[in-house]
C-alpha cells in the first residue's frame, strides 16, 4: 500500500512539500534570529548618528540573504526536481 503510494507520488509528494516549506520557514526563522541583534544595535546607533541609517540597513539586511538560499531550495524541490514539475 505504502509502496504503491510512493510510486503514485502520494507520500513522496507530501514529504517534498513539507521539506520545501521547512527550507524557507527555518531559513526565515534563522534570519530573524540573526537580525534581532543587528536590528537593535542599528537602531541604537541611528538614535545617536542618524547618518548611519543607510549603512545600518545594509548590515541589517545581510542575514536576509540566507532566506534566498532556503527559497531556492524550496523552488528546486517544488518545480525542478520533483514530480510536481
Amino acid at each position: 500500500m505504502v509502496v504503491e503510494n510512493i510510486v503514485d507520488g502520494g507520500i513522496l509528494y507530501g514529504l517534498i512539500a513539507v521539506g520545501a516549506g521547512l527550507a524557507t520557514g527555518l531559513a526565515g526563522i534563522g534570519a530573524g534570529v540573526g537580525e534581532q541583534g543587528i536590528g537593535a544595535a542599528v537602531v541604537g546607533v541611528v538614535a545617536e548618528e542618524p547618518g548611519f541609517l543607510g549603512k545600518g540597513l545594509f548590515l541589517m539586511l545581510l542575514p536576509e540573504t540566507l532566506i534566498i538560499f532556503g527559497l531556492a531550495v524550496s523552488l528546486i524541490l517544488m518545480f525542478a526536481w520533483t514530480p510536481f514539475a
Binding site: G37, A40, A41, V43, G44, V45, A47, E48
Partner: protein, 347 residues
C-alpha cells in the same frame, strides 16, 4: 534592607541596543590629541571649543549665571549627569540594573559632597554647584539635603536605607571614617548585585571593579608610603574587595623604595614604571593608572562585545573626559604651566 529584585536574564541580544548606542556615543568623546591643543588655549577659547561639542547645551544654559573656569566646571558636571541619566533611560532589564548599580558611586559622591560642605560650613548654594545627580538619588532630594542645617539632619534623612548604617559612624569629629564606610558599602553592594546576575559580562564587570579598587588602594599606598605614615593608619584607609588586597596590605608602611621595588611584575607596572623611575609626583602616577584603567575597561569589552562592558568603558571614558577638562581649566585659572597640567591629564 530592601530586597534585591533581579530582572529576568536575557540573551546577549538584550545588550545589542545599548552597546550599539554607547559605541556611537563614544565617537563623540573629545579625542586625546585635542587635550594637547586645549593646553595651548585660554579659558574663553576652551569654552568656545566646548560649545562645538556635546557640552553646547549646558554651556549655553549656564553662561548667563557663570563664566570662566566655573562655567566649564558646572557645565561639564551637568553634562556628565545628563549623559549617565540617558544611559539609564535607554536601557532595560539587566543592563539598566547593572548601570544603576555602577552609577551609585555618584550617590556616594553627592552624599560625601554634602557632608563635607556641611562639615566645613559651606552654604547650600555652594554645595549644590558640586552635586552630580547621576545616580539613584535625584536632584530634588539632594538639594533638600543641602538645605538642611546640620550633618545629623542629613544623616537622619537616610534612615531606612542602606546608607544609614554607614552614615551613623559619624562621630562629630572626622568625616574620613564615614567616607570610608560609604566606599565600602558601595563596593559591597556592587559585588552583591553582580553576584546575582548570570551573564558573563557581570563577572567581568566585577573583575573591573576589583581592579579599580586595587588602583585606588595603590594610589593610597603611593601617597601614604611616600609620606611615611604608619602601617596601621594605612590599613584603615585601604578599601577591601580588591584582587591584590593582601599583597597591598603587606606593602603598607614599607619604605618608599622597598614599596616601589615590590610593585615590579604587576600588570600595571608597565603603565607607571617610567614615571616612578623619574621620581614623578603621585598625581602623575595617578593619571597614568587612570589611563591604564580606561584601557583595561575597553580591553575587557572586546572579550564580550554584547555585554555591559562597552557601557562600562563608555562610562569610565566619559568620567575621565570631564575630569580632564576640569583639570585643564582649573589649572589654567590657577596659572599653572602647560607641562604641569599635562602631567595630570589622563590620555
Amino acid at each position: 534592607m530592601p530586597v534585591l529584585r533581579l530582572p529576568k536574564f536575557g540573551k546577549p541580544v538584550k545588550y545589542a541596543y545599548i552597546t550599539g548606542r554607547v559605541r556611537a556615543m563614544k565617537t563623540k568623546l573629545i579625542p586625546h590629541e585635542m587635550y594637547q591643543r586645549m593646553l595651548g588655549m585660554d579659558i574663553p577659547e576652551i569654552t568656545r571649543y566646548l560649545e562645538e561639542t556635546q557640552y553646547k547645551e549646558e554651556i549655553d544654559l549656564m553662561a548667563k549665571d557663570h563664566s570662566g573656569a566655573e562655567l566649564v566646571e558646572y557645565a561639564t558636571f551637568a553634562n556628565l549627569a545628563k549623559t549617565y541619566k540617558k544611559l539609564l533611560r535607554v536601557s532595560i532589564d539587566e543592563p539598566e540594573f547593572l548601570i544603576l548599580e555602577y552609577l551609585r558611586r555618584w550617590d556616594i559622591w553627592n552624599i560625601k559632597t554634602i557632608l563635607r560642605g556641611k562639615f566645613y560650613g559651606a552654604g547650600d548654594e555652594e554645595i549644590m554647584k558640586y552635586l552630580v545627580p547621576a545616580g539613584e538619588l535625584d536632584l530634588e532630594f539632594l538639594e533638600g539635603l543641602a538645605k538642611k542645617e546640620r550633618i545629623e539632619e542629613v544623616i537622619q534623612a537616610f534612615d531606612g536605607t542602606d546608607y544609614y548604617e554607614a552614615l551613623t559612624q559619624y562621630d562629630g569629629q572626622m568625616l574620613s571614617s564615614v567616607e570610608n564606610a560609604l566606599d565600602k558599602l558601595y563596593y559591597f553592594r556592587m559585588e552583591r548585585a553582580v553576584g546575582g546576575t548570570l551573564s558573563v559580562g557581570g563577572g567581568l564587570l566585577l573583575k573591573y571593579v576589583r581592579k579599580e579598587i586595587d588602583v585606588k588602594n595603590l594610589v593610597t599606598l603611593f601617597r601614604m608610603n611616600k609620606a611615611g605614615i604608619e602601617a596601621a593608619v594605612i590599613h584603615d584607609n585601604l578599601l577591601p574587595g580588591g584582587k591584590l588586597h593582601e599583597e597591598f596590605s603587606r606593602m603598607a608602611g614599607q619604605s618608599y623604595n622597598e614599596f616601589v621595588r615590590g610593585l615590579e611584575g604587576y600588570p600595571f607596572w608597565s603603565a607607571i614604571s617610567d614615571v616612578v623611575a623619574e621620581g614623578g609626583s603621585v598625581s602623575r602616577i595617578e593619571a597614568r593608572l587612570r589611563a591604564y584603567l580606561v584601557r583595561y575597561a575597553w580591553a575587557l569589552s572586546n572579550y564580550h562585545p554584547l555585554s555591559i562592558l562597552p557601557v562600562l568603558g563608555y562610562i569610565v571614558s566619559k568620567e575621565t573626559e570631564v575630569s580632564n577638562i576640569r583639570k585643564i581649566v582649573r589649572g589654567k585659572e590657577a596659572g599653572l604651566s602647560a607641562e604641569l597640567i599635562e602631567e595630570q591629564v589622563v590620555a
